[in-house]
């Protein structure tokens, strides 16, 4: 494997209802990532984007997004209908060919125009799940109940995760929710979809994230402290929610093992725990103990720009290394309902 590092990253703010179009708010994000990487746009050998046209209901929105890249004269590019974290994975694979030394990955989404419950219902089995209107919140609630019944979490634990995450976001300029009442106050609120209360859910967010990757020589030349990708892997579980153990994340466990999470201690973990209880699941699946700082950015509970939120975890983990002095960080991204598919990326400063 060739050594590849993250040498530049940028995020937009997270908006509840962005006035700008997706290419418009992507535009400065991509420019900033390139500028921070200290490279020329034309030197990028491969570009990969992650987005979902159904989010804002516009056909070929992913093509319009390329307007923010500078795609003329034509560039080498690709797209995944997934979170930008998987675009980064593809860019990392592309760099392994060794013929180019710079790649750009980005993710973006406008969740505000549509109804996420209805949009996400359409990604499910069209014969047995979509016809029931099965939605992400209800499915997450089934998972939370299974964990509560098993005794691996309590409603108070969940409220504490919510409060801690949002309070951690106080200094994160990209976050949407930057404060929270304490767990006692949160537990006074009524259930939304029991056993979930509103605080157990992420906000609805519009936003974007971009990351520049470089191979070893280029990374050392352009970046003072690159965040080296030491392992990256993704795994998927069966689709039907009743055909896997919702109280464990086996795919995360496998991805973490293959990415080498437990090869050395971890300082910071940025986890795509979209619902409070999933943070507990992910910590256990990756074997992260209490010494690990989890989601210092606030994580998805503070800002959830769908299709960018996973890549933003990788960008935050890279930032912890390049700017925050962390030695080793883990980033996680997820796709599908109830953590069906999971990507784990291990970053190191040296």
């Amino acid at each position: 494997m060739l050594d590849v590092a993250i040498v530049g990253y940028a995020q937009s703010p997270s908006w509840r209802n962005a006035e700008l179009t997706e290419p418009q708010f992507l535009f400065p994000v991509i420019s900033e990532a390139i500028e921070r990487a200290g490279i020329e746009r034309r030197d990028i050998g491969f570009t990969c984007a992650g987005s979902c046209d159904y989010l804002s209901g516009q056909t070929f929105a992913f093509v319009s997004n390329l307007e923010a890249v500078g795609a003329w004269p034509p560039i080498s590019e690709s797209h995944v209908e997934m979170d930008g974290a998987w675009a980064l994975y593809e860019a990392w694979v592309r760099l392994q060919h060794g013929d180019i030394d710079l790649a750009l990955a980005f993710g973006s989404g406008k969740s505000s125009p549509g109804r996420l419950d209805e949009v996400f219902s359409l990604q499910l089995d069209p014969y047995t799940l979509t016809p029931l209107g099965a939605d992400p919140v209800s499915l997450a609630a089934l998972q939370a109940r299974a964990m509560l019944d098993k005794g691996t979490i309590t409603e108070r634990d969940m409220a504490e995760i919510a409060a801690r995450s949002r309070q951690s976001a106080a200094d994160n300029p990209h976050a949407q929710i930057r404060s929270s009442p304490d767990a006692d106050a949160l537990l006074q609120e009524p259930y939304l979809t029991a056993p979930l209360r509103r605080h157990d859910l992420p906000p609805v967010s519009d936003g974007a994230c971009a990351v520049v990757l470089a191979t070893a020589d280029r990374a050392r030349a352009t970046c003072e402290r690159p965040a080296w990708i030491r392992g990256i892997d993704h795994r998927v579980e069966p689709h039907q929610p009743g055909m896997r153990d919702l109280t464990e994340s086996i795919s995360t466990r496998q991805a973490a093992k293959h990415a080498g999470v437990d090869d050395a201690p971890v300082d910071v973990a940025e986890l795509c725990a979209t619902f409070t209880h999933q943070e507990r699941l992910l910590r256990e699946a990756m074997g992260l103990d209490d010494t690990v700082r989890v989601n210092p950015s606030g994580g998805p509970l503070a800002a959830n720009p769908v299709m960018a939120v996973g890549l933003a975890r990788i960008a935050e983990a890279a930032r912890a290394i390049s700017e925050g002095g962390a030695g080793r960080a883990v980033a996680h991204a997820t796709s599908g309902q109830c953590l069906q598919q999971n990507l784990v990326c291990v970053l190191e400063g040296a």
Partner: protein, 186 residues
């Protein structure tokens, strides 16, 4: 109610399943398109002229994707409402779900006079579809001020002036030679 009480709706195996997918979206108009829409209501077509390459975007996008530079109100110019057909197609509607047209219709690209700017997917009116041709000179048919609306203008209108301009009609001026319209097809 027991099984015996209720006969199945139909006999024979179920082999097909209908699913009617419907999603509704509400999006804020972005500032540059809001500005474009409010100018349309006043009977003006505006665009952004890229300060770097000079290309004119209508409606304005807020950036030039070729040069990768942002454009602002400072780059706004008022465009001509006359121009030349540079490309067109005649659509013969197939009555698929959602198709409201029943007769063949034209969708044309129009290069505006003066500073330029391409209006795409435009309707050509007051002329049989068979007479539309590249090089044809046309002018906008504005709705009277009181009847204009921008209900159909969206962030991805792609040059639409629907609700304010009913289409483009021939001016009767001599054609522009097609050779002069190369690279202006879309």
């Amino acid at each position: 109610m027991s099984a015996a009480d209720t006969a199945p709706a139909e006999d024979g195996p179920v082999t097909m399943m209908d699913y009617f997918m419907q999603l509704e979206y509400h999006e804020l108009l972005c500032p540059v398109v809001r500005r474009y829409a409010s100018q349309l209501l006043e009977g003006r077509l505006v665009g952004h002229k890229c300060p770097s390459c000079g290309l004119v975007y209508v409606p304005p996008r807020g950036y030039c994707p070729i040069c990768v530079v942002e454009t602002t109100d400072a780059d706004e110019i008022v465009l001509a409402d006359k121009g030349t057909v540079t490309n067109y197609t005649v659509v013969t509607p197939v009555q698929y779900y959602g198709q409201e047209e029943t007769e063949p219709f034209v969708r044309a690209s129009i290069l505006l006079d003066g500073e330029g700017g391409m209006m795409n997917l435009q309707d050509i009116v007051d002329v049989p579809v068979d007479d539309v041709h590249v090089g044809m000179r046309v002018e906008a048919v504005w709705k009277p001020p009181g009847e204009r609306n921008v209900d159909e203008i969206s962030n991805r209108s792609w040059g639409s002036a629907e609700g304010c301009i009913d289409g483009w009609r021939p001016t009767g001026d001599p054609d522009v030679p097609a050779e002069q319209l190369r690279d202006k097809a879309f």
